[in-house]
């Protein structure tokens, strides 16, 4: 069972958008640490030889990918509420990196990195291709084939929990890939390696004459009794 804690643990969700998608995980960590420091929020330090702030982040995101769902846990020195925390830290953050929600965690939780099972990436793809198509069915068939092709590639099929395609009225589809973030017991899965997938995927897109417009990390999930819950929903 989860142990109740007297520490003020805050879990929050933040965005990483526009120019800042080009910053690495460590860069964002530094940015966040400094923003906290500027906001006057005092983070607890551990008692190591070189004391480190008690902050931990969700899984690193690939360089160049925007994210709507980065998570972070930290322990505060005082009893600042989640709302106060969000308000004062957001004042110190650039518009490209903003906290969108925060919650106080009343008990000790496993680290985000250990807990997160799945990551949802959304690929925005232009299927009009180089030759303008009036035949929607033909494109549609291609999309089905595209999906089959990814699912057929064992390396990736074993690292993907689920693939969905969302159609729009324009020549745009959203390919939603829910990939494994870790090896799960009894599942016999692989970890979804984004960069490997992207190079494999670019080849297929070329073949289909589709154009990748952008990729967004939409959400991260923890599997709880068969349900997908984001890290704020489990606490």
């Amino acid at each position: 069972m989860l142990k109740v804690t007297t520490e003020n643990i805050i879990r929050f969700k933040f965005l990483k958008r526009a120019e800042y998608k080009f910053l690495s995980h460590l860069d964002i960590l530094r940015l966040m640490t400094r923003a906290l420091s500027r906001s006057g929020i005092i983070v607890k330090y551990d008692k190591g030889f070189n004391p480190r702030p008690k902050i931990s982040f969700s899984n690193p995101i690939p360089l160049g990918v925007e994210s709507l769902a980065e998570y972070c846990d930290l322990v505060l020195e005082d009893d600042t509420s989640a709302n106060e925390f969000t308000a004062s830290v957001n004042l110190q953050l650039p518009e490209q990196v903003k906290i969108i929600s925060a919650k106080r965690v009343p008990y000790k939780v496993p680290s985000l990195m250990a807990d997160i099972d799945l990551i949802l990436y959304v690929f925005k793809i232009n299927i009009a291709g180089s030759t303008f198509s009036e035949n929607f069915m033909a494109e549609n068939e291609k999309v089905v084939k595209l999906k089959e092709k990814i699912e057929g590639e064992t390396n990736f099929s074993k690292s993907i929990f689920k693939i969905d395609v969302e159609y729009t009225d324009k020549n745009i589809i959203f390919l939603k890939i829910l990939g494994y973030a870790k090896i799960l017991k009894d599942v016999n899965n692989f970890i979804f390696k984004f960069n490997n997938f992207l190079s494999f995927f670019s080849e297929i897109l070329k073949e289909f004459e589709f154009i990748l417009d952008s990729v967004i990390k939409q959400e991260t999930y923890i599997l709880q009794n068969g349900f997908l819950k984001n890290p704020l929903e489990v606490v």
Partner: protein
């Protein structure tokens, strides 16, 4: 005129550390796109650092000028750093001209490009950046008045090697000069074209700019040579006085610096506590060219530092100066800063702390936060040679300091030495080994045996490089073979245990020396080397001596004439038209005094 984000996104695909090129850091100050649109008469300048973002961002000169220019309602300053090899290739392939960080304005659309020539090994990068911007590297090939191209920074105390590329130089402190010269540009831009005269435009402007203290305009000077490439005469026989700000306190430290997006070489809040140095070490160019010594008021400094730490959120502060321990109120400063922590532990570093004035209390104070390494620079191994170079440290001082440091828990020290110093003998080289052994003995005496495993001495050996405006400016640099012999002796005889030895390549030092003491001919050599592919010369992996020897040969210049020759004291020096504030007679007296020891 500028690059859109979408275009930037496209060219950044697959680029290493794209965070270098995206701007939007905390603390940026350039005028916004909208402001510039509504105020088209704003004088647009770009501060260019000819090395990559990580190296250039911590440069305090850029941060200071950036602040001063942007505070002015009529001026705007943006920044640009040298693109790394991969991004340069992409820019060239996609035919995208080099752009500034803030508004991604192409460099050729600015009114003024100011390079920080912090040292000589950046020269080829300056040319490369101009070329990437689609700007002719040679002044004479630039048809338009704007952008004007200028340089400042430590290396420009001898402007001659860069003079064919620069419209003007700013020698000395930039704080006041930059505002005055931007005023001149603003005024000039208001003059209707028909009143300027067709070809006199640029000359008219440069004449005006040349009236600013510290400004050297190469076009207004003519250098005549003897047949051996030494200088016969510089005309007119007038001197350009270096720019000096009398009181540092007139300018607050930059309390809201731009905070780098990515990890940079010195990622901390850096504070200049003092400018200039009164020590007079005979090899040290910075010590002579930054005179007089000017201190910041400690009380104000404490307030500004606390404000700066609050504004930035940094957990490390670094007090910079040429000799921090000479700052009269260092203890007051450190006590007050370390007692005022905003949040979390704060670590303090003093990069240029001289060991002779190092004491217990200071050690205690610094130790309060996290421990940082200790660096000492005895420079020479023997007392005799330390006297010659006027490095005022005795062996006893050094060992006493080590004793304090080791007993306070330090287990890593860094020692800097130079080889090839003027009047150096074999015994002086041997003395380096003796000194290192004594440091190790001291450690073994003080540090408990079970902790000796962590003990390490990092020994760094540099080849001496005679620099302009020092008493050793006339001295020959050792040739490469001699330097290699001396280093060979050290590496053979230095104790293997506890010691990590590294040294700078003597080939690189030789090129540095030639460029430092070069005349206008070296401009051709630099251009030639750059055309052969020389760039990032300060990067060990990219420095290529063959390119440079090839360039010297092709331009008919003898590198030894500039580097390893003893310059006769009556010869006209390439930097003689600069008045640095220290008389040549004094430097010569000091050189002769060293010779006598």
């Amino acid at each position: 005129m500028n690059l859109e984000f979408k275009e930037l996104e496209n060219i950044l695909a697959g680029i290493e550390k794209p965070g270098r090129y995206i701007n939007h850091e905390i603390g940026i100050k350039g005028k916004s796109k909208d402001f510039l649109k509504n105020h088209p008469d704003t004088v647009l300048s770009v501060l260019a650092f000819p090395d990559i973002y990580e190296v250039g961002m911590p440069n305090s000169g850029i941060q200071i000028l950036y602040q001063i220019i942007n505070e002015h309602p009529g001026f705007s300053a943006e920044r640009v750093y040298a693109p790394w090899i991969d991004f340069e290739a992409k820019l060239r392939k996609e035919k995208v001209k080099l752009f500034s960080l803030e508004n991604r304005i192409f460099l050729d659309c600015f009114d003024l490009i100011g390079f920080n020539a912090a040292h000589e090994m950046l020269y080829t990068n300056i040319l490369n950046m101009l070329d990437l911007a689609g700007i002719a590297v040679n002044c004479k090939d630039r048809k338009n008045i704007f952008p004007l191209v200028c340089a400042g920074g430590s290396a420009t105390v001898n402007p001659q090697p860069l003079s064919k590329f620069m419209d003007f130089f700013v020698v000395g402190d930039g704080e006041e000069a930059v505002v005055s010269l931007l005023e001149k540009i603003r005024y000039f831009k208001k003059i209707p074209d028909n009143e300027k005269g067709k070809n006199a435009g640029k000359e008219l402007l440069l004449r005006e700019i040349s009236k600013v203290d510290g400004v050297y305009v190469p076009a207004f000077f003519k250098v005549y040579f003897n047949t051996d490439c030494s200088i016969k005469e510089i005309e007119p026989d007038i001197k350009v006085k270096k720019a000096v700000i009398g009181d540092l306190n007139d300018y607050e430290i930059v309390t809201e610096p731009v905070i780098p997006n990515i990890q940079v070489v010195h990622d901390r809040f850096s504070v200049e506590i003092m400018r200039g140095c009164a020590r007079g070490c005979r090899f040290c160019q910075a010590g002579f060219v930054n005179r007089p010594v000017r201190q910041r008021n400690a009380k104000n400094l404490v307030n500004q530092c606390i404000e700066g730490l609050k504004n930035t959120g940094y957990d490390e502060i670094s007090f910079t100066s040429l000799s921090s321990a000479d700052y009269s109120q260092l203890e007051y400063l450190i006590t007050n800063i370390s007692n005022s922590q905003c949040s979390g532990p704060l670590s303090i570093s003093l990069p240029s702390l001289r060991l002779d004035s190092f004491n217990f209390k200071l050690a205690e104070l610094i130790l309060k936060g996290r421990k940082t390494g200790l660096t000492f620079a005895p420079e020479a191994g023997s007392q005799r040679l330390r006297d010659i170079i006027k490095k005022d440290i005795s062996q006893e001082d050094l060992l006493n300091c080590m004793e304090i440091a080791f007993s306070r828990g330090w287990d890593k020290v860094k020692l800097y030495f130079m080889i090839g110093l003027p009047f150096e003998e074999q015994e002086d080289i041997e003395a380096i080994i003796v000194l290192i052994n004594k440091v190790i003995d001291k450690a073994m005496e003080i540090i408990p045996g079970n902790k000796m495993g962590r003990f390490q001495v990092n020994v760094s050996i540099n080849a001496f490089c005679p620099k302009p405006f020092t008493p050793f400016q006339w001295a020959p640099q050792d040739n490469i073979a001699k330097l290699k012999n001396k280093f060979g002796y050290i590496s053979k005889n230095i104790p293997r245990r506890f010691v990590k030895l590294n040294w700078t390549s003597p080939e690189k030092s030789k090129v540095e020396c030639a460029l430092a003491r070069g005349n206008t001919f070296l401009g051709d050599v630099i251009e030639n080397a750059w055309k052969r592919g020389a760039k990032f010369d300060n990067w060990t992996d990219y420095f290529n001596f063959d390119l440079w020897t090839g360039a010297f040969e092709a331009e008919g210049c003898d590198i030894d004439f500039y580097a390893t020759r003893e310059i006769p004291s009556d010869e006209v020096l390439p930097w003689d038209m600069i008045d640095i504030g220290v008389k040549k007679e004094y430097l010569l007296k000091e050189y002769r005094a060293a010779k006598k020891l």
